[in-house]
Amino acid sequence: MAVISRDDVLKLAQLARLSLSDDEVEQFLIELREILLYVEQLKSVNVDNLAPTDQVTGLVNVMRDDITIDYGYAPGDLLGNVPRVEENLIMVQRVL
């Protein structure tokens, strides 16, 4: 049976850069347990002679020539999605 501890939840939160309240930790502990139990059903499938399926198209060597492409973005099109901008730079919560 999949076991997930309080520490696991805290670690996941840390990796995801989330700060969780105590109530949330308890809530996610229960929810993640349920998710893991659900996914655990996969363990009953016999995959002995199967290669991992990480590609389904059968394509190989999909490459483009090394030329610059004008995607037609106007200045500000992309930065317009950014909540805070300073002189064309994306403002984020201080790191370091």
Binding site: L15, A16, R17, P52, D54, Q55, V56, T57, L59, V60, N61, V62, M63, R64, D65, D66, I67, T68, I69, D70, Y71, Y73, P75, L78, L79, N81, R84, E86, E87, N88, L89, I90, M91, V92, Q93, R94, V95, L96
Partner: protein, 498 residues
């Protein structure tokens, strides 16, 4: 922090290096954005792919695959017939997708080695692997502000990360290794390898141990010069030994190098590999390189440092000179300045090769370094190949002394005029030596008449006084007399056996 050599020798030092090389492509690894972010305004070389917008489809750059394949041969390996891309997850503001596209378990290069030249210590450092990956953006941290700023122009730039085995055992071997990587990358032409622009960045893993078992290592990240690699390794070796000597433990961690303080500083605790939650990237089909492709890459490989080292050594050039020449060739390759091919032009003429190597190492290369700093242009239409040939010709014909050759060469290089005849230029600058017997005769006769004291000394057997007379002749001929001919002539005239 002072560790005496006796204490230091009790410890075995182990160093492994990771090196990120920015590939010289026009566009990014997975998007068609311009890859030259040096002077562009922030966030202008971006699109939906680099911005990590939902639904954007990355498409692999063919040229990046070619350059990585070339690099494989430069690393004495060859590109893998099958490689694929994976997602490496972590959250950081300069990584808009929330994962980096890299190669995890099936990289394009596996194995290889690099021969390093650390003074007389020549050895091979094994390469574990090298993989293609997309660079992250650049974060800035304005002083006194509570926010950071991100520029995504660099996001998606193609990198190859080269990972060495922990085969180095001193800071000078570490420096020799990164210098050799620089040469390999420059000679193979896969990267501009401009260290100033961070085209090559080094992470240095250091551990020390009193037993054969490896000690706990630290990783000092993002070094951008050969010197800082050496200094950071030295600092870490000393710091770790000091900790262990005090009975403390080395903590496994990531550190940064503070250039101003010349020390390493602890950064975040290193995340374990499984924290990255690697998974195959379903958006990118695998890369399969057939034998024909690999063969065609190999057949087009340019001449690499190993080829030149052998060629130069066969011509009798010493190893110090060889290394200086190799590095200069790498540094000035883009300016079209040839050193190696000129020295090796005539494999039967060792004397010419030696003269040229000496002039390059002692005069032209130091001059270029000076001039690079002052920003002046060294040459304007000067054909160096002809110039050196003519210069050598004048010496062979005894028209130029070796001292004057150095003066002449410096003038030729710095005055930077188009020059058809080195002889004419030398004559204009009064640097041609008189080999005309009659003229020297006349000057020698005068000098003998005007210097009775030294003359009588010489006749009494004080041969060394002849040096004074030679000096006089040189002075009266404005340095144009050939010193050894002059000496012979004076002795002959005084009736003394040479």
């Amino acid at each position: 922090m002072n560790i005496d050599s006796k204490t230091r020798n009790k410890y075995k030092v182990t160093i492994g290096i990771e090196c990120h090389v920015q590939l010289k492509t026009k566009s990014k690894l997975f998007s068609g954005a311009d890859n030259d972010a040096r002077t562009a305004a922030p966030n202008t070389l971006v699109n939906h792919i680099d911005f990590g917008l939902p639904g954007a489809l990355p498409v692999l750059n063919k040229e990046a695959v070619r350059l990585a394949s070339v690099l494989a041969f430069a690393l004495n390996s060859k590109p893998q017939s099958f490689s694929k891309f994976d997602r490496k997850h972590y959250f950081y503001p300069d990584l808009p997708m929330g994962y980096q596209i890299t190669q995890y378990d099936q990289p394009i290069i596996i194995g290889g080695d690099v021969e390093i030249h650390d003074g007389n210590n020549i050895k091979r450092i094994k390469i574990t692997r090298a993989h293609l990956e997309a660079d992250a953006g650049k974060s800035m941290h304005p002083a006194g502000k509570n926010y950071s700023l991100v520029d995504l122009n660099r996001a998606g730039t193609p990198l190859v990360e080269i990972v060495s085995e922990p085969d180095m055992h001193s800071s000078s071997e570490a420096k020799a290794f990164v210098r050799e990587l620089y040469l390999l990358v420059r000679y193979s032409g896969v990267s501009d390898a401009n260290l100033y622009y961070g085209n090559m960045r080094f992470d240095v893993n250091v551990s020390v141990s009193r037993t054969e078992e490896l000690g706990t290592r630290t990783e000092t990240k993002n070094l951008n010069s050969f010197r800082s690699v050496e200094k950071a390794a030295d600092y870490e070796i000393n710091r770790q030994i000091e900790l262990l000597e005090k009975g403390e433990k080395v903590v496994q961690q990531t550190r940064g190098w503070d250039e101003a303080k010349q020390k390493t500083i602890a950064q975040r605790g290193k995340e374990e590999a499984h924290d990255y939650r690697y998974m195959p990237d379903p958006d990118l089909p695998p890369v399969i390189l057939d034998a024909e492709y690999v063969k065609s890459i190999e057949s087009k490989m340019p001449k690499m440092p190993a080829f030149w080292r052998k060629q130069l050594a066969d011509l009798g050039i010493g190893s110090m000179h060889i290394e200086t020449l190799l590095e200069a060739q790498a540094d000035y390759k883009d300016d079209g300045v040839e050193f190696l091919s000129l020295v090796c032009e005539d494999v039967n003429n060792k004397e010419y090769a030696t003269s040229l190597a000496n002039w390059f190492v002692n005069i032209e290369i130091p001059l270029r370094a000076q001039i690079n700093e002052s920003g002046t242009d060294l040459e304007q239409g000067l054909n160096r190949r002809d110039m050196y040939k003519q210069l050598y010709g004048l010496i062979s014909e005894n028209k130029l002394s070796s001292t004057n050759a150095k003066i002449l060469l410096t003038k030729l290089l710095t005055e930077g005029k188009p020059c058809r005849s080195v002889l004419k230029f030398a004559t204009e600058n009064s640097l041609i030596q008189l080999s005309d017997q009659n003229e020297i005769d006349k000057i020698v006769d005068e000098v003998i008449i005007n210097n009775p004291k030294p003359v009588s000394d010489i006749k009494k057997g004080e041969i060394k006084a002849v040096g004074y007379l030679v000096g006089q002749v040189m002075a009266h001929s404005s340095g144009q007399a050939n010193p050894s001919l002059t000496r012979d002539l004076i002795l002959e005239k005084l009736g003394i056996d040479k």
